[in-house]
Symmetry: C2
Subunit: 313 residues, 2 copies
């Protein structure tokens, strides 16, 4: 199992990426082979300094870096020697089995969509977030921003992708799918939600429980919560800021800590043919470690093949 990690991506790279690696390696007696994409001159002394053993590690030198605020499409075109471009190349050619970066989110999404491409039958890949539930469980909300406008068919596919992810990665048996809406009753909603309801109801690949409301997001009603990326993005960012505000105000509680999205590592792009994990720009060592763990679990559970199968007719 070969996992690629962009060492130059994120606000605290490369130091926190290296520390994350150390954490991962100290936790695992049989770790994955790690391919590190970045500036060799910077990485080598840093790996030594942090006491990272040389076995399991391959450095792939990248002479360029895509900055956090560069225009994604332009940057990918102009910087073929960047850590993100080389990572996607290695993923596309099969040198690595998964690629992780906490760098430029737009570049990661475009790289996933254009150099790896959607699975056959998947109209639009999607990104999700873990939602900590009041009772200690975890739910999955998707889409959280890759698809600002959606068609009912997109949401129906997100439900399938999210269900497989919830089952195999979050270990939720027969995950309950809820359609995020502004009322519980069938027939409620905007045009999109009204048109999506019958598709979810009639989709035999999922366990649809009906509409859920904003008040249900944080309670344990549905495991997989489906919406278009506009609303999902607002919900995710509001939850993140709620955590930051309570933190700044020194309001501490185990439940609030679970909104520290660092704990969840990154979010995989679901519906592309190979595992791509996008980390938060503010990722620190725990997030980097958790992204490697997540990538390994996606490979071990053969999630991509299970997803591909579910879209074959």
């Amino acid at each position: 199992m070969n996992i690629g990690l962009d060492m130059m991506g994120g606000d605290f790279a490369p130091l926190e990426a290296v520390k994350g690696l150390r954490l991962y390696l100290s936790d695992h007696s049989a770790p994955a082979n790690l391919f590190l994409f970045g500036d060799e001159q910077v990485l080598k002394p840093l790996l030594k300094e942090q006491g990272i053993p040389e076995n399991h590690i391959t450095i792939v030198h990248a002479s360029q870096v895509i900055g956090m605020h560069e225009h994604p499409t332009k940057a990918l075109k102009d910087k073929p020697g960047s850590s993100i471009s080389l990572g996607f190349k290695a993923l596309a050619t099969g040198v690595i089995d998964a690629f992780i970066s906490a760098g430029n989110t737009g570049a990661m999404m475009i790289g996933a969509l254009y150099s790896i491409k959607a699975m056959e039958g998947v109209l639009r890949p999607t990104i999700s977030t873990i939602i900590p539930k009041e009772n200690g469980h975890a739910g999955l909300l998707l889409d959280v921003g890759l698809n600002a406008d959606c068609k009912p068919e997109n949401l129906s596919q997100f439900a399938v992708l999210g269900s497989l992810y919830a089952k195999h990665i979050l270990d939720i048996e027969n995950p309950r799918v809820g359609l995020l809406n502004l009322g519980e009753e069938e027939g409620k909603g905007n045009i999109l939600a009204q048109a999506t309801y019958p598709l979810l109801r009639d989709n035999s690949a999922i366990n649809f429980i009906g509409n859920i409301e904003g008040r249900d997001i944080l309670v344990d009603k549905a495991d997989v919560m489906v919406c278009e990326g506009f609303t999902g993005n607002v919900v995710l960012k509001m939850a993140e800021s709620m955590y930051e505000i309570t933190h700044r105000k020194n309001i501490r509680h185990e439940y609030l800590d679970r909104f520290n999205f660092e704990n969840y590592g990154g979010t995989p792009v679901l519906g592309v043919a190979k595992p791509v994990i996008i980390g938060h720009g503010i990722s620190q060592e725990t997030a980097f470690k958790n992204m490697v763990v997540l990538a390994a679990k996606i490979i071990q559970t053969d999630l991509m093949e299970k997803m591909k199968k579910s879209f074959m007719i």
Copy 2:
């Protein structure tokens, strides 16, 4: 100044409505004249029991009640003698200057839209919610559910209505208007947000500051936050549930207390020709008192005339 109050609406009516009246009257030496819509046989002993003085009070007997879960349109048609129907009749004929109810939300909205009607020039009336900001200020989010699907012109009008409400009721000078979106840069967003941006930018009646994201909702970046009712409804209900969860988990803090929407009374329907205030079903005495105070302020500041003027060409 004559304010009408539905005494039969809400989960805790009529007792909490009566208690709210008592609070209001004890706070105000020169109160409004209060018109109470409800069952005379029930109200009279209750008013006496709670020690409500008879001056300033007029009971309008209503022989029927619209239940919280009745179908709004059907209920309004079938129950002309209900407290909500009689309240709207009194508002339409000028007997009262404002009407308040914590009863069936759908019936209140339909009553507002069809028996009072939109102001001339207003395409779609809207409902809003107060958002408590991290620094102690209050913001206004709209629409929060009356308009699940919107056109750019609707959002532009919501910005005007919200700005006038923020200025005259929330006492915010030159309120900053933000367009809720999934990125900050111009050009970001779904089709609706992209098409709304130039309308807000070119609207000289508002102080537009650009796009805001989910992370900005709870911080003091924009005073008036505009979105379609689908996303706004999800945000409002999620904020309400966040309060409920922290309350259940006994996480206490002054900031979290400000998410107790009871403190804000109800929400006015903005853009209809006369003041209509819709309370939460779970309204208790403080909420009822605050709704009467809000109605009085809307009348005193002549908000309706200011709104009407802003839509005259």
